[in-house]
Symmetry: D3
């Protein structure tokens, strides 16, 4: 099994609902360093997993649509706790949509999985992994 | 599949028995930077894998019970080589016990796995992963 | 010249005023991983720069007073761009105040400098250094 | 499941064939920081996954045979795109050969898997994992 | 004293002349992760050291002009050992030229220093620092 | 001003004397990741700060003489608190002795400074810097 990972980041404001979140119920913010991993069983004719240029561009576009925003005010996240693990899924699902729409190139048809890790600090991170 | 990871560390002395360990047969020590990962298939009602505050506290308590000690003299490790991989299992098992005892909150009932990685230097680390 | 550094972090929301900030003029947020460095010419009688326990506690208290907040609404930062470099100075000055107030122990009288670095992402950070 | 990872690195020149590679079609180079992971279900009689000294030596020997070279001129890679993901497989397969040849010690008979990650920069890396 | 640092990278081929370089006399390559630091005594009217967007763009342009190349064939480096420390100076000097030419904005007139660090692997890096 | 840094590590046991050390008064241990930096004003005839091969070898030899030991029992450290900052000085001074003894090559005569940083965990490190 092969994989390729590219890294980008987002900087967002948000707040959480629920006692479990303690002081994070207040409006605060986070930098999430975002690692997106693409998996497949065999390499393509160019000997790669995915066009790393396209993968980076797609991840950058998806990060750009989330970054420098207050997620509490985004229609997509109305009434939702935008936890680190939840945002990992949002980004993984958007990358999966991009792959299916051909945005990662024809070779990306053979990708079998995507996982996304969001690092919220030097002592905490969260991941979501899915098939394609 | 979702996961959340929290980081802590321990600083211990120990020695190893067996020729394979070379100079590490002498009493020496290590800082282990400890990454504990909690896994589950779906997020809970708060949209999280686990209460990260409780998870950090449990990991800190488990690390505190190991740290600033000579492991050679600890009853739990009598006659045992406290290798990095072995200590990863010790910490993972103690976290699993805490989860089952409710120390990570009610939502932690749905955790399906725990893995622990111990970084012993910038060039070596070891992991143990288990189901719950 | 000796130094000791301890690390903590804050998670804040804020926005900036001024065209130079582009999309960061919108309310957004950041995790700042905070490194606080204490300097002195010679070690004290215990052979250390500073009581690392007290230094960590003071840094944690200062970080706690900033974290999980929208800095735009904090009286201390009214009408101020809370840039990474500016926040580095805020934390360094508060640590200097703590040192002078004896919060870092008697030995901290001989500290000659403090510097603070705030990492805002994997590709950007800022620092402020001052004498004591 | 237990694992142990050791880190080394190589510094190589190479070029790629295929439009997908853009400017990387020109002769250029890379440092690959190489992480080799060894897996097994249970620890051996010494309480370890593998003799970490031998594992490091084997990885160092394999890295040495690749490093400080122009891979375009190496007979093993004639007409091949030596992508990061491909090189991860090369190193994993050579480690698997070493394990089978007894170079990692008798205990390495019970290894069940090897994975190799090559970090090509702070924003991209690739992995290959295989059974033994 | 304040500073801001931004990170980028280059991937180059090169070889060295001189016995001191051992196997690095052969054509090989490196990824250099490049950290560029800008210093000034006081913050500007926007409360920043430098427009971080422009600083990142300039660094990216300078890195782009060096990357995906065999430095042995570049006219600028004819007969020169393009060591890590030397390349740090090349990039710092080009950033200084950009600052003086106004490419970092009007506020960059008050920058007092630039330093550049190039990380060549997880175990080696080099820096050059200069005044402006 | 130019500098080159190389990294190695040591794994030691030790204990501290003095209330300020709290639980670290017990016999415990640490991995210290060691960064040694060599400085000079101008590059030598080979366009380098120091022969990086020799610098790495000397650092490795100095680390080897400290590692896999209980520092409490070492004659050199009798009755001394082997704090992180103190050990940084020990290593820096030994590197300075090696430079003066010609162990870093003839070019090392023009080194003007050495600094050493010891990372004791992901949240604490200490440094010592000196002239040559």
């Amino acid at each position: 099994m092969f994989s390729v990972t590219v890294r980008d980041h987002i900087m967002v404001a948000h707040s959480f609902t629920g006692e479990v979140f303690g002081p994070a119920q207040r409006l605060h913010g986070a930098t999430f360093v975002v690692d997106a991993t693409f998996r497949r069983a065999e390499l393509d004719a160019d000997n790669i997993v995915v066009d790393i240029g396209r993968a980076s561009e797609q991840l950058h576009a998806i990060c750009g649509a989330l970054s420098y925003r207050n997620l509490d005010g985004e229609p997509d996240f109305k009434g939702v706790n935008t936890s680190t693990e939840f945002l990992a899924k949002v980004i993984a699902d958007r990358l999966a949509d991009a792959a299916r729409a051909g945005e990662l190139g024809a070779g990306a048809r053979d990708l079998t999985g995507i996982s996304v890790t969001l690092h919220e600090s030097h002592i905490a991170w969260a991941s979501y992994e899915r098939t394609l």
